[in-house]
Amino acid sequence: MVEEIGKTAEGDLIINVGPQHPATHGVLHLIITLNGETIKKVEPHLGYIHRSIEKMCESLTYRQFIYTTSRMDYLSAHINNHACALTVEKGLGIEIPARAQVIRVLMDELTRIASHELWWGAMAMDLGAFTPFFHAFRERETINDIMEETCGARLTMNYMVPGGVMMDLHPNFQYRVKNFLTLYKRKIHEYDELVTGNIIFQNRMKGVGVLSKEAAISFGVTGPAARGSGVSCDVRKLYPYEIYNTLEFDEILETEGDSFARYMVRLREMNESIKIIEQLIDNIPEGDFQAKTKAVLKLPKGEFYQRVETARGELGVYIVSEGGTTPYRIKFRSPGFSNLSCLDHITRGGKIGDLIASMGTLDLVIPDIDR
C-alpha cells in the first residue's frame, strides 16, 4: 500500500512502499522521503519474513538442515542446496564421483536459466508490460517439468545431499533437455524484439540507477549487479568448484553500471548457461551418483566456508563445528543482503519510476535477505 503518512516542515513527503506491493517481489518495506517526485532518501525496513533459519539449523543434523536453504532463495533452490552439500563435504573431506558432479552442474545451470526467466517476466511487468510475463512462464514451465520428472518437485527440490545427488537421472532426462534447447533457441529472439529493442524500455533503463565500480566493491555487491559495473566477481571463474574449470564459457562484463547494463548482463548469461548445458548433455559419465557416507555425519572441530555463484550473486555458507552431529553456528552470507545495501546510494536524485526500474534490475528476493 502506498499511503501518505506525514509531511515535514520543508514540504517533504514521507511515503511507505510495501510491505504488500506488487512490485517489491516479496515483503520489502521502503520508507522514501520525497521532494515533489524526486527521491531524497530511501530507507529499507526488513524482517517481515525473518524465519530464524540460523537458530533453527543449530538443532538440525547435517543431513537435515539442507531443506531450509531451499526456502531461502527459492528461485535458485538447487544452487543453495549445492552450497550446503559442498561445505559439509569439505568438512568431511570426501570425494564426489564424476557422474554426480556433472548432474549437479546441469541442474545448477537449468535453475539459473529458470531464475533469469522469471526475473525477466516480473521486471517487464513492473515497468508496465504484461505480455513478457506469459512468454517467460512458458519456458519456465518446460524446465519445471524436467525437474519434476527427475527430482520429484517443481520448486523446492532437495536433490543435492552430502556425497552426491539423491537419486539417478530419469531415462527421459536427455531427451527432454535437448527438446528444451531447441525450443529456447527458437524463441530467444522474441525477448529482444519485445523488450530490449523497445524505445520505452530503453529510455526507462538507460542512465538510471548508476553504480560505479568503486562503490560496488565497497558495498560488497556481487553477481550480475556488480558485473554490470565492470567488477569481475563470477565465483565460477575466480574460485572454481566442481568441474567449472574444465568448461568453456565467458564472464559477461559491462562498464556503464546503469540498469540497462545489468539487464543485458542477465540476458547474455542465459546464453552462456545454454553453452554449458550443450557441452555436458551428451557426455554424462557413467558411475555412481552418490559417494558412500556414514549414516550419521559428524564434522571435525573447526570452521568451513564455501562459496557458490547463484543467480543473484555469491552465496557463502560458514559452518562452525564443535565435533557434534549438529552445527554450533551457521551463517549464510546471502547475495541479496549486500545488493540491497546499495539501493539508497543509486536512487538518490531520481524519480519513483526510476526506483522501480533499479529495484527490478537488482533482482532482490526478500526471503534471501531476511533469512
Binding site: 504488500q20 516479496g26 520448486l155 523446492t156 526471503p367
Partner: protein, 178 residues
C-alpha cells in the same frame, strides 16, 4: 458437515417460465447472488515467500485461472474479494495482515495456501519469530496442504471455495446469517 460429493453445478440456478409475450426467470435471490459472487472472485496480490511463485505459475499460461474468473488480481484490498495467504506469516507481518483483512470490503474470503500458512510448516520447531498458522490472525475458509502445493491443488481449492459459497457455508455467510 460438508459432504465431499459434488452437489453443486455451475448452471444458472433458476428456470425460465414460458408465458405469453416472453419468459420470466424464477429463482431464489440467495442462490442467484451466491452464483454470481462465486464466479468472479478477485484475489489480492499477497505473497510472502515460496508459495507465491506457485501462485504466479497458476496465473501463467499453462495452469490458467482466468478461466474461472480470477484473473483480475487487484493490488489494493478495497477492491479484492479473496486473500490467498501464500507464504509464512511472522510476528512482524501479522499486524499488516490483520490490517489488510480489515480493509477488505464484505463479503470476503480467505484461503491459506501451503504448510506455513496452515500451521507454521517446516518452521515449527525452534523458531522464535514464526506465527504457527495464519488462522491465529484471521479466520480461514479453505486450507491447501503442500510445500509448495501444486498449481492443480490451488485450482482445486478455488473450486472448493466456489462450492462453499454456493452452498452458503463460508464463515462470512454463516456469521451474517445468509
Amino acid at each position: 458437515m460438508i459432504s465431499t460429493e459434488n452437489t453443486t453445478t455451475n448452471e444458472f440456478p433458476g428456470h425460465i417460465e414460458e408465458v405469453p409475450g416472453g419468459g420470466i426467470v424464477l429463482s431464489k435471490l440467495d442462490e442467484l447472488v451466491n452464483w454470481a459472487r462465486s464466479n468472479s472472485l478477485w484475489p489480492l496480490t499477497f505473497a510472502t515467500s515460496c508459495c507465491g511463485i506457485e501462485y504466479m505459475q497458476v496465473a501463467g499460461p499453462k495452469y490458467d485461472f482466468s478461466r474461472f474468473g480470477f484473473e483480475v488480481a487487484r493490488a489494493t484490498p478495497r477492491q479484492a474479494d479473496v486473500i490467498i495467504i501464500a507464504g509464512t506469516i511472522v510476528n512482524k507481518m501479522a499486524p499488516v495482515l490483520k490490517r489488510l483483512y480489515d480493509q477488505m470490503a464484505d463479503p470476503k474470503y480467505v484461503i491459506a495456501m501451503g504448510a506455513c500458512a496452515i500451521s507454521g510448516g517446516p518452521f515449527f520447531y525452534n523458531t522464535y519469530s514464526v506465527v504457527k498458522g495464519a488462522d491465529h490472525v484471521i479466520p480461514v475458509d479453505v486450507y491447501i496442504p503442500g510445500c509448495p502445493p501444486r498449481p492443480e491443488a490451488l485450482i482445486h481449492a478455488l473450486i472448493t471455495l466456489q462450492d462453499k459459497i454456493k452452498m452458503g457455508m463460508t464463515r462470512e455467510q454463516m456469521k451474517s446469517g445468509l
